[in-house]
């Protein structure tokens, strides 16, 4: 199931990423994948902006404008 395209307010800074993989672990919709030791968007449109990756990224490489709920 997919909702609207190109609206998710999520940013990933691959330069900061240390490849720990916590974002893949906490994301409930499989937005991320690992590519050459760095997190990468697998499908950005699946993002529901819950903010789990943002909070748990230890190097603040991900930024999500998350709403309530």
């Amino acid at each position: 199931m997919n909702y609207l395209k190109n609206v998710a307010a999520i940013r990933l800074d691959q330069d900061k990423c240390i490849g720990c993989g916590i974002c893949l672990e906490v994301c409930p919709h499989g937005v991320f994948e690992m590519l050459q030791g760095k997190a990468n968007f697998h499908d950005k449109d699946l993002c529901i902006e819950c903010g789990a990756c943002d909070r748990n990224c230890p190097v603040k490489a991900i930024e999500v404008k998350s709403g309530v709920g």
């Binding site: 199931m1 997919n2 909702y3 609207l4 395209k5 609206v7 998710a8 307010a9 916590i22 893949l24 672990e25 906490v26 994301c27 409930p28 919709h29 499989g30 699946l46 993002c47 529901i48 902006e49 819950c50 903010g51 789990a52 909070r55 748990n56 230890p58 404008k65 998350s66 709403g67 309530v68 709920g69």
Partner: protein, 359 residues
Amino acid sequence: MKKFNAYDGETVEEEKIAPLVEGVISTPIGEIKRLRTELNRRDTLGTIAVRIGIGRDYYRVPTGIYAVGNPTEDALVLVTANYKLTLDHVRRELEGLNMWILVIDTKGVNVWCAAGKGTFSTEEIIYQIKKCQLEKLVKHRQVILPQLGAPGVEAHQLKNYTGFRGVYGPVRASDIRVFLENNQVASKEMRRVTFTVKERLAVSVLEVASYIKYVSIMYILFFLLALIGGQKIIHSFITAFYNTLPYGGALVTGAFLTPLLLPYIPFRMFSVKGMVLGLILSNVVLRYPLVFHYVIDWPTLLGHGIALTTISAYLGLNFTGSSTYTSYSGVHKETIRVIPLMVVASIIATVLIVLGSLF
């Protein structure tokens, strides 16, 4: 009878918590209540009641540490929310296991919603770990967090403040056992939130129940309209009943069928999905206007058609709040686009129906 509760200093109804408990375990930090792992009829009835909005308050479980089975100082610790339905989901999956359960204060709200609102938080977990003296209860330094708590928790900060490492378990409590057997590794499926037919059905039934009062308001409006239109009171009651039936239908299409058929209705916007079903409903209703005692002239019928379609679309839009795959930005975009149209449509529909009935 209300009693002061030593666990979290909140007043809770002890006797209603008691059915969950079977005995106590003596530990270096005192006696700890042991939770049952099987749900009984009382739990089931309580769940039905709370789902329809009765007794919501007693579904706040006292916070603190609980035992399942016969846990030792090596047993794992699961963290969960203090909503009884959440705790029920967790404990019924732990039969035969020996574990500790740390219940944190989420104000009686489930894990995911509480994480979104910020009550299932790093601070609260740190507070409960310290207050429950977890470091004296267990030898290891690890707690297992529900994955859906992640929007509210910075797992890496837990260790800095408590010495305990936070490990994310699976989304669903039903996967906990496999997760543990699998050396605490969750498969991709265990990490994904789903929105199955069963899940959609469960939430949509509750949606419909919450909207039924509006159908009775529609009934009163149609009754008044018939009365003002010159019908006798007894006839107005009957006319209003038949007039209202299709609106009950719009409630069903928008709040029940749209969620149920969500993946099968074309278009991405929920309001458009609701509109599609609303149009189908309008088509059927307007084919048999006499059945519903509608005045047979084009303004009235057009008005009902627009009203039914708009209601269905609006209820579809509302369901974005219950879905598990909509984003805030997406819903914002959709709302801003469709609400003005809905307002205009509602005004036109009202004017057409009222004028058609009175003149």
